[in-house]
Symmetry: C2
Subunit: 449 residues, 2 copies
Amino acid sequence: MREHIHLQKDRFLEELKDFLRIPSISSLSEHREDVRKGADWVVNALQEIGMENVNILETNGHPIVYGDWLHAQGKPTVLIYGHYDVQPADPLELWESEPFNPTIREGKIYARGATDDKGQLFIHIKALELLMAEHGSLPVNVKFCIEGEEEIASPSLAPFIHENAEKLSADAVLISDTSFIEKGQPAICTSLRGALAMTVNVRTANTDLQSGSYGGGVPNAIHSLVHILDSLHDEGGRITVENFYVGVPTLTDQLRKEVAAIPFNEEHTKEELGLDHLYGEEGFTFKERTGIRPTLEINGVTGGFQGEGVKTIVPSEASAKISCRLVGMQDPQTIYERIKQHLEKHKQEGSHITTETLIQAKPVSLNSQEAMLQKAADAYEKVYGVRPMFPKEGGSIPIVEVFGRVLDTPVVLMGFGLPSENLHAPNEHFYIDNFTKGIETVCEYLYKL
Amino acid sequence: MREHIHLQKDRFLEELKDFLRIPSISSLSEHREDVRKGADWVVNALQEIGMENVNILETNGHPIVYGDWLHAQGKPTVLIYGHYDVQPADPLELWESEPFNPTIREGKIYARGATDDKGQLFIHIKALELLMAEHGSLPVNVKFCIEGEEEIASPSLAPFIHENAEKLSADAVLISDTSFIEKGQPAICTSLRGALAMTVNVRTANTDLQSGSYGGGVPNAIHSLVHILDSLHDEGGRITVENFYVGVPTLTDQLRKEVAAIPFNEEHTKEELGLDHLYGEEGFTFKERTGIRPTLEINGVTGGFQGEGVKTIVPSEASAKISCRLVGMQDPQTIYERIKQHLEKHKQEGSHITTETLIQAKPVSLNSQEAMLQKAADAYEKVYGVRPMFPKEGGSIPIVEVFGRVLDTPVVLMGFGLPSENLHAPNEHFYIDNFTKGIETVCEYLYKL
């Protein structure tokens, strides 16, 4: 199989480049048509490798692409999930090559979506193409369910899974949208944090006011906003929202050991990120803070005059975007309510606060001893010569919890990314070596099932 | 004179509309050519009313327009100052009519620059036109010095005044760029606060990071920024920068009485601004806070993801614009250094701060008993039937201090604006009644000299 992959690698990369050229940014309405182009591209790719019943399924948002091949009688069924949408690309000026003009440099392919998730999704498509080419059939039954709203927290896919549980039923859900521990050390993620994303808007007067006439005498929306935002953490980096930590698992010695077992080089990380210091909740390690502890991060802030030069106003409006990572029994809606209460309690006189929730996803935990995960580990070991670790990841893939719960099926997070691949950031890229080895690993896995 | 004004009012307003159509925004480099058009317009207007030696004087920034008429032998010389540049117009969506499409509604002319300062400057041009038309000469010698950088704190005019002190020498500097107390109650401002405007930029990692992988474990530039911004005031609204209040005059009973004498209707102000509460430094009244106390306001803030939807990043950069109003002996450069020290002291680990100063202007105080001011008061009284008050204004006109000091001349701040005219904000306007009465008042004043 390795030689087949090697022989066709250049063609595969050209096809992947085509996919990466589509700016299928699901969060921006001006890219609506591009997102649909992404769906069409997937439809075509699935049809070309012999998938059947390939369809675009309309939703209230961006479409879902379905396709299957169900002729392996008596064999297990694998549901392959991935997403063809991508994050926004800004700030554009920090990209070394254009985000939607895929470029290969030093064994890596650079483009928005290279690792998250077009490159990783494409691994499965090419693995099935090779298996079909070799045998004219597949060793297992396969269903594809590819969405275009992962980066906006899968609002259409969750109800779709509920309504189509029968159609999607499988013995395992296979997802490649996570990362290795580091180059050469594969990982099957067994824990994902939940997520809450929200906006907060502060309003004071009915218009911006001249600071010469009103400054010092009226509420300033930015003062009020920075006050409530700063109040969300204490000096030790702990989140101060009342009852925020209810439902967070106690850190046992066993759990600390498991987390500590995942290698982490602090000096290397600081150097890579250009940081003098790491920072976070006191009493926890970097891996604990980013993997199993809940967080609250301000993702963006805007208000008042931001142009060139000076405008001496007292701004009347300011807003921020906030997101939380949640763990254990933390419920996103409950956390949202608690944050709202906190903001109201800390707001300054004369300011009005409005909030909106944009994403809600529950935390998820998977069992590493499950056969479907152990067989995936065998496949990795065969290709990479190293048995994967089973880390608890800090990220969120909101739909994983829904797949596991609604389909009552193990979810296998067979990732081929690297932590250093700048996902959601400028200069996102994907190691081509993991792309080709990924195809090989997926083939191995499907044989083993 | 009143009839002459009335007869030509419509033409005057059409001419003013022409002036207001020029988007001469001095702070935005893309409007550089428009600012020059503003200068050309002033040159033409001065030539048309018979001014001599009318010239565009180049500077490192936007040009200064000079013109004079010096044939009133043995009579005093008045230097008329004004500015043809305007503030930026954003946020555009809050304007009821376009900022550079002047529109008359209910006796007011709406446009950016209507009151600040094109409308007020135009009063002088039209007053001189009428005097020339009536007598073929003027009762005093007149010099015009009109700049295009007032809204960016007059960086070129200050050195220009130093270099041309002889050319600009006068018995009074006459400026209309301030406001009445309220409709029907004129004012000659006798105190202007100084100003400091600066930017602060916070940088953490070398790129934005995915909050799933790094959130909670690395410094967040917005967290760091809101922390230092919130640290600038205490809960009582007092500025916490060390030694900030050094040089601020002690509030004597006499001064409190003077300030309290200026009428102020708190309920009316709150209603007008749509505010439940006013806000400010504890222990001081609104008029004290906005007139004679120093202030520190955050004018704008920006950082991270501000687009539609969600981008769960840990932002690596965030910045704010800050401006102070200064009083008494407060020196802008010293205050800037003190704020920088405060920011460094309060910054979070792993964040780097850079600052830049954009405006520096010293506070200024004028003597209300000076003959040149008392004659101006007489002119107002004759036209409006009310003697003007002599308030201490909260705003800053940086060049006033330079004119007074370098030319050693009384400065007469003969304003015709109203506090409610939204200067520096959407829907800026100018009362046409004060425009016509202003022309009459200026004519009266020049006769009285």
